[in-house]
Symmetry: C3
Subunit: 139 residues, 3 copies
Amino acid sequence: MRQSLHRLVVETHGQGLVEITAAIKERLVHVDINEGLLTVYCRHTSASLLIQENADPDVCKDLQTFFAKIVPEGRGLYVHESEGPDDMPAHIRAALTQTQLSIPMRDGELLLGTWQGIYLFEHRREPHRREIVLHVIGE
Amino acid sequence: MRQSLHRLVVETHGQGLVEITAAIKERLVHVDINEGLLTVYCRHTSASLLIQENADPDVCKDLQTFFAKIVPEGRGLYVHESEGPDDMPAHIRAALTQTQLSIPMRDGELLLGTWQGIYLFEHRREPHRREIVLHVIGE
Amino acid sequence: MRQSLHRLVVETHGQGLVEITAAIKERLVHVDINEGLLTVYCRHTSASLLIQENADPDVCKDLQTFFAKIVPEGRGLYVHESEGPDDMPAHIRAALTQTQLSIPMRDGELLLGTWQGIYLFEHRREPHRREIVLHVIGE
């Protein structure tokens, strides 16, 4: 049994879902693990992770619209306002989605479903450098 | 340290929670792992996973009612409509719950709490064959 | 590769977020694992886990306010009422957050982001003894 750790930096450009499936697979190319488990971990509380359909980009738009509606932004809505009106909504949207995802591997490939992609969900309006940690264990 | 991968197919019959605890335990019977970690992974974006109370079936009804209310179905509510009016709500409900769950094991048993059951949450109106991957690691 | 299991009991005092980062780190002090993966598992369906900002306590207040608003309590709102008006909302709030979290480790430390803390989110009004299982694997 072996394991390895990898770091992935994702540049975001305001609110929205950024697919990171290809970037993750690229990190795994030189990892000599046939069968095992990949854990994707997001080191932030105003960005999060999501596995979603990567066939129709409208799915990402609708997801963003939904989270904007259910967790509205605006002055006076939250006690925690010091980091801007989009900060507390970002924390709540992150709480409603995932900080970590684990995906089994077989034959050196992630066992994602046919239409599944791994996304970083940026919840802040400004661009950010988001740090993702990958942990792989297996043999 | 050993690991193994298993596949579980769950037939769903429209929207609702299907308990899969017994089916998962059955797969683990012949896995010779005493202490370790089980990862349950759902290969879909319109069905998801949930650990919930399995004592009173009303809990599952209330969960379903809540998600139906908070993520309504209907023409004109979403951009992504091509796969039917229940498809985009299914993706959002999946985003609000889990695609993956990991549960520690001891003495060859899952360390679920007394009232915890593992559920597949079907979000589509039509019956589907849902594919679940189980990864176990331990010794 | 080695693994170990640990038990953490958290006393809660009604609804709210209780930071358990320090208690988890304390359990890991004597675990001789440099690089690996920690899994935190909550054995309950009316309390859950969350990774959130631990710099400003107002973030926890706003999170609690949001979940109280989106999943209201009250007689007549849910079918499952036998365990009290705060029980079914507790199950739904748990479903919207996490029962399990996995965090990579390096140099014997959890790879949490600068502002990330691990929280137990108590959803019931009465105090409870909550049982958390920690599984660590690595070397």
